[in-house]
């Protein structure tokens, strides 16, 4: 009975979310809508990122490289043949790609699948040895993807990047995918596979001794993350409509790392809360980069100060508040209702 009630509550809150989005898309200004879109895409990225880092415990630095793949693949597919012909002025595009054209949803999914395949190829040699190298291999991949997008001009248009990508991403697309990825990843975490992932995180040797195929489980986590990061990259490209090799820097990965650490490694609830805090907070923190007026003093703004604050924040949280907001706990309707009841009795 509780189970039925909880699913109803979940469905009701999703409906409420979309009612809010419907209201927002009609009444909010462009800036607020952009922030809402950013929150959705970052939520999707952070939840997938937490699956491999927090739930499975394999430190990885892939998001900037993987969103780049998703963004490039899906935009190349939604651009029309005429647009591509006009844009590739240095070197014409290689053949089958230059006339290929897909609708938005199909392009996003293909982008996700290509990213998942790349993730599989990258992780295969790493997971056969020890997971330690995953971080350095994915960090290196983020640099290599930039080398590739700058040099493979007949595929990526080189440093000029892609322009005039259709602005298809709206609140429905971004939040639809964010909610979908959250549901899929939560189902995965709560399944037998998810328990195996947590076992690997807590003690890999013990997990293997219990008969868990650690290579397969780590691979499932990583490839799932890769798929959703690719789709999120596609959504991002169709939100900002112009992409170039310099867009997908390590700063993106660093932001996501802060989000999952603030929220609590392994807690999806924490990740969702932290995404809203960090995306919103970094908008507010823009004042740090500009001159500040305190009483009658003027503190000159230092561009780049935000990055310093972010890295100090990350180190301080790791040293003194490693649990983050939620630790490894998750939100549950039972817990929430008990909490409300308890408050009433007081």
């Amino acid at each position: 009975m509780n189970k039925k009630r909880n699913s109803l509550l979940t469905i009701a809150s999703i409906v409420a979310l979309f009612l809010f989005l419907w209201y927002a898309s009609a009444h909010f200004n462009k800036y607020s809508i952009r922030i809402l879109n950013d929150i959705a895409i970052f939520m999707m990225l952070a939840v997938s990122y937490n699956l491999i880092n927090g739930v499975t415990g394999q430190f990885s630095l892939e998001p900037n490289g993987f969103t780049a793949i998703g963004a490039y693949v899906s935009s190349l597919l939604t651009l029309t043949a005429a647009q591509k012909h006009a844009m590739f002025i240095i070197v014409p595009m290689i053949h089958p790609l230059d006339t290929l054209h897909l609708p938005f949803l199909a392009a996003l999914i293909v982008g996700g699948l290509v990213t998942a395949l790349v993730g599989f190829i990258l992780a295969f040699p790493v997971f056969r040895v020890r997971g330690d190298y995953l971080a350095i291999v994915t960090l290196g991949f983020g640099l290599v993807i930039r080398v590739f997008s700058n040099n493979a001009i007949s595929v990526t248009n080189g440093p000029l990047g892609l322009k005039g990508i259709g602005a298809y991403t709206n609140l429905w697309w971004s939040w639809g995918w964010a909610v979908f990825s959250l549901i899929v990843i939560m189902r995965l975490v709560n399944s037998g596979y998810g328990r195996a992932m947590k076992a690997i995180r807590d003690d890999e040797d013990a997990a293997i001794a219990m008969g868990i195929n650690s290579f397969k489980i780590k691979m499932i986590a990583f490839v799932t993350s890769a798929f959703f990061e690719g789709v999120a990259g596609g959504l991002l490209a169709h939100l900002i409509t112009t992409i170039s090799p310099t867009l997908f820097t390590f700063f993106l990965t660093f932001n996501l790392l802060i989000i999952i650490v603030v929220g609590g490694l392994g807690s999806m609830t924490g990740t969702v809360i932290a995404t809203v805090m960090v995306v919103w907070g970094s908008e507010l923190l823009r004042v740090v980069d500009q001159p500040m007026h305190l009483f009658s003093f003027t503190i000159p703004g230092v561009p780049g100060m935000r990055m310093i604050l972010f890295s100090v924040l990350l180190i301080v949280i790791m040293l003194f508040a490693r649990e983050g907001i939620m630790g490894q706990k998750e939100f549950s309707w039972n817990g929430f209702l008990n909490f409300l009841r308890h408050r009433k009795q007081k």
Partner: protein
């Protein structure tokens, strides 16, 4: 390509490789002892180079004094980073110290960007290193001779330290089992500090030689050499100092040769070390000199 061109490319490759090797030694020593990828290592190299730059241009020290000054400061920085950011997390899960390592790396890069700007600075080259020898059409810049010689001298000193002193014995013991070494009465924290000091000083030496070769320094200069040096450490067999040096030479020489043989691949030069890293993991994960560091970690 005729004979003298081949020799020329080899000379270039060896001098580049000795720089990678110097940086790789720090990676491999820290990983050998703590099983930690010190992401800040490339940035320590950058800081060391900046210190040498300021030693010469701001404090007007003679070049050798400022190079020593830079190596000492880099060693101090390495020790401080370990004490502040890694030591409190020794007993925590392994992912925690990796996350702080990446935090420290990002902090150093952005701190130097804010303090000194992103515009590359010209590294002053002492007169001694500015010239070059011409032997039968092969041009030997003094830096290209000096770098491998210095690299090998440092390696020999380090091997002497590792195998013929008590500190070296303690380091080798640590890489097998920290807790047992502690029980044996070794001051584990002091030895770990020494490991960070040596690795960071060598990184600074590598960075200084790097900027004598490519005299333009900026706060992000440590990222790519750091990554390639890590690939060199894995190629040589992580945890093994000689292996790191050999791995560095292999990566340096092959990077130069590939560009010399296939000039159209020059744009992809920086991706090559990465490809090599993947191939090593795929076919010989323990590297050339490597021993299995006790299974999976």
């Amino acid at each position: 390509m005729n004979f003298s061109e081949v020799i020329q490319q080899l000379v270039n490759g060896i001098s580049l490789g000795s720089l990678y090797g110097l940086v790789a030694i720090g990676y491999t020593m820290v990983y050998g002892v703590l099983r930690l990828i010190n992401f800040a290592h490339g940035d320590i190299m950058m800081v060391g180079t900046y210190m040498a730059f300021f030693g010469v241009s701001a404090f007007l020290l003679p070049w050798w004094a400022s190079f020593i000054f830079a190596m000492v400061l880099a060693a101090l920085l390495g020790v401080v980073i370990d004490k502040v950011a890694y030591k409190p997390l020794r007993s925590a899960s392994r992912i925690s110290s990796l996350i702080t390592a990446i935090g420290v790396s990002f902090l150093l890069e952005n701190l130097f960007l804010v303090l000194f700007g992103g515009v590359p600075k010209a590294f002053p080259i002492p007169k001694l290193f500015a010239g070059s020898l011409n032997i039968g059409g092969v041009i030997l810049p003094f830096v290209s001779i000096f770098a491998p010689v210095l690299g090998i001298v440092f390696l020999l000193i380090l091997l002497q330290l590792l195998h013929h002193t008590k500190y070296g014995m303690a380091m080798r013991a640590l890489s097998l089992d920290i807790e047992t070494t502690r029980i044996m009465g070794v001051n584990v924290d002091a030895v770990i500090s020494l490991v960070f000091a040596i690795g960071s000083a060598l990184a600074a030496a590598g960075g200084i030689l790097w900027s004598l070769k490519y005299p333009s320094i900026n706060p992000l200069m440590g990222i790519l050499p750091g990554l390639k040096a890590f690939a060199a450490a894995v190629l040589g067999g992580i945890g093994d100092v000689t292996g790191a040096a050999i791995g560095g030479f292999i990566i340096g020489v092959s990077e130069i040769l590939i560009v010399a043989i296939f000039p159209e691949l020059a744009g992809y030069k920086d991706a090559f070390a990465f490809l090599l890293l993947i191939l090593v993991l795929l076919f010989k994960p323990t590297g050339i000199m490597g021993k299995d560091l006790g299974g999976r970690f």
